[in-house]
């Protein structure tokens, strides 16, 4: 390894250093503000280190990691989201009794796992990144250990995630048994040189898809999602919904493009069925929920289905366009979901999660700004114009139409229609007159960091909705580097 490669790896090294620094800070003086401050500083430094890594890209650092422009861009996205979640965590946990500092430490290790995941070009880095991410998430989801719900969420996530990792490993083993390769490009060469379709490799890829389907909560593998989303503390739910899912999806995309697995037509049929089920199942089940966190969980299942439509289109359209569509959608989804769960997190306290829809009754009259932000986020999730979610959905449509996936597009339209209903339902509940309800004395005070973060997220949402050109040109320039 030479200096150039070290520079390319600098963002990941910085985030590792930040985790160790937080650990030592806890050892010296146990203070939540100190730990959060060190972590925030570490994440900011890591973003600066991205600038150091930028001139080196694309850099293949050892066999394991490929830091190209796309990897660095997605890392930046993950780090920014991590910073936002850190802000929500600070406001959520600062008044909680007990030892909250390790939460920050776990957040950093989860972020480390996610950044490794988006830069991996080898099964070893892929699996290590995924496990670093998942194992941190179990502990994060169950952090308020003396309450039943988070504990249940953590145990469920632990068991199902363990099962999905077993699927993943089996899939990797099957591919390795046939090709003798663990690097993505080596597997790509092997697949390209096969005269006929290799069924064992196909089986391996399907097992990997099943394993990743668990992490992405696509429909046949989605059972954990509502329980974990409901049980985990709201800021952590935001993290699971965005960083964890986004990083895994980016990895899936990279794996498919660099191994050229799009050549396997049966695989695309499998994906089409999964996408269809996710869109319809997620939206229909979301209709039935009275708990906002569960509803957002089901809606995130549906959103992963939409994302998969653009992904499937890669079978017939240029990979550059697929990456562009998927990346824009992921950016919009990150902003929106972080914002939506951020509002939930501001309304929640460690004792009571603001899950039940009754919490939101008359919110417009009590806290108009917060309700306005939530409305904006929900409209973006529904894909209403002026928000970034609209441009994202437009991209999904464009790539789906280019790929001639009419059946899937019909599902997207039906899903969006259903989605509009339950998103608007929350808005209606929020604008109901307050006199009809018992006033709840839950005015949490001084959530200043969260409020500032939410304001920034709302601005970004509108900005990318009205003027997407700038972001699009950045995404286009980075997505051309992936191969």
């Amino acid at each position: 390894m030479n200096a150039d490669q070290l520079a390319a790896l600098a963002p990941i090294i910085t985030i590792t250093g930040a985790a160790i620094a937080v650990m030592l800070a806890i050892a010296i003086r146990r203070n939540f503000l100190l730990a959060s401050g060190v972590a925030a500083g570490g994440i900011l430094l890591s973003m600066l280190a991205l600038g150091l890594a930028w001139p080196q890209s694309p850099a293949q650092v050892t066999l394991l990691m490929l830091l190209d422009d796309y990897a660095l861009f997605t890392m930046a996205l993950l780090l920014v989201t991590g910073l936002a979640v850190l802000g929500f965590c600070y406001d959520y946990f600062k008044d909680r009794e007990g030892e909250n500092e390790e939460l920050i430490l776990l957040l950093l290790t989860a972020l480390l796992g996610a950044t490794v995941l988006v830069a991996s070009s080898h099964f070893a880095a892929f699996f290590l990144g995924l496990e670093t991410l998942s194992i941190s998430l179990f502990a994060l989801a169950g952090y308020p250990i003396n309450r039943a719900r988070p504990l249940e969420a953590a145990i469920k996530y632990l068991i199902l995630s363990g099962v999905s990792s077993a699927f993943l490993l089996m899939g990797m083993a099957l591919i390795y048994a046939q090709s003798g390769e663990l690097g993505f490009s080596g597997i790509g060469h092997f697949i390209a040189n096969q005269p006929v379709m290799n069924t064992v490799v196909l089986g391996g890829v399907i097992l990997i898809v099943a394993g990743l389907g668990f992490k992405l909560s696509l429909v046949p593998f989605h059972l954990w999602t509502p329980d974990v989303y409901e049980g985990a503390p709201a800021p952590i739910t935001a993290f699971i919904a965005t960083v964890s899912k986004g990083a895994v999806f980016i990895l899936l995309l990279r794996f498919f493009i660099s191994t050229d697995s799009y050549g396997y037509n049966p695989l695309l049929s499998v994906f089409s069925v999964i996408a269809m089920l996710s869109i319809l199942g997620g939206n229909v089940l979301a209709l039935l929920q009275t708990n906002v966190k569960r509803m957002l969980a089901y809606s995130s299942i549906a959103h992963m289905g939409y994302l998969l439509v653009a992904f499937i289109a890669g079978g017939s359209i240029a990979p550059g366009l697929v990456i562009e569509a998927v990346t824009f959608y992921i950016v919009a989804y990150f902003i929106t979901t972080t914002g939506a769960f951020g509002v939930v997190s501001v309304l929640s306290t460690p004792q009571t999660e603001a899950g039940d829809i009754g919490f939101y009754r008359g919110l417009f009259w009590r806290r108009p700004l917060l309700a306005g932000t939530f409305t904006l986020m929900l409209l973006s999730l529904a894909g209403i114009p002026v928000t970034a979610g609209f441009i994202g959905k437009f991209y999904i449509f464009t790539s789906g139409a280019d790929g001639r996936l009419w059946g899937l597009l019909a599902a997207v339209i039906a899903g969006s229609g259903l989605g509009l209903y339950y998103y608007i339902k929350i808005v209606v509940v929020m604008s109901m007159n307050e006199e009809a309800t018992v006033r709840k004395a839950e005015e949490s005070s001084g959530a200043r960091i969260s409020s500032a973060t939410l304001a920034v997220l709302s601005l970004l949402l509108i900005w990318f909705g009205l003027f997407p050109d700038h972001l699009v040109s950045i995404i286009q320039s980075v997505s051309n580097t992936v191969r």
Binding site: M1, I20, M23, L24, I26, A27, I28, R30
Partner: protein, 137 residues
């Protein structure tokens, strides 16, 4: 004779063996069930039919204090495995490997400092800790 036929022929004794196991178990359990006596007395379900009647709940909570110790052992034991691998290839990995191992050991030491500072390595019980602090006063 192909391989599958050979396998099937070899399987026959195994099948007979399993059948015999099932038969003997069925005879033993079934015989006891049909021929044995039935007690419906109240004390028949007690763990001991003679002696002191047991009291209390068996689901008592006991300290998992040494669990932590066991986990630390497993973790640090696993870490040394990596160092063994490095020591075998010490010359081949050169200065680069040496620096990497130093970083690794440094992180381990940081972890140890952290564990010491949060009191995880202090394996007295909470009661004992309170007692000692009172005695020293």
């Amino acid at each position: 004779m192909n391989t599958e036929a050979i396998l099937a022929a070899n399987l026959l004794p195994l099948i007979i063996y399993f059948g015999a196991i099932l038969f003997i178990t069925a005879v033993m359990l079934g015989g006891a069930y049909f021929l044995g006596q039935r007690h419906r007395a109240k004390a028949a379900d007690e763990p001991f039919e003679s002696g002191v009647v047991s009291t209390g709940d068996v689901h008592i909570r006991f300290s998992v204090h040494f669990y932590l110790l066991a986990i630390f052992f497993v973790i640090f034991d696993m870490e040394t495995v990596f160092l063994f691998a490095w020591s075998v290839a010490l010359k081949e990995s050169g200065w680069f490997g040496f620096i990497e191992a130093l970083i690794f050991i440094g992180i381990l030491i940081a972890t140890l400092i952290y564990l010491g500072a949060i009191g995880a390595l202090d394996w007295r019980t909470r009661r004992q800790r309170i007692d000692t602090s009172q005695n020293s006063r």
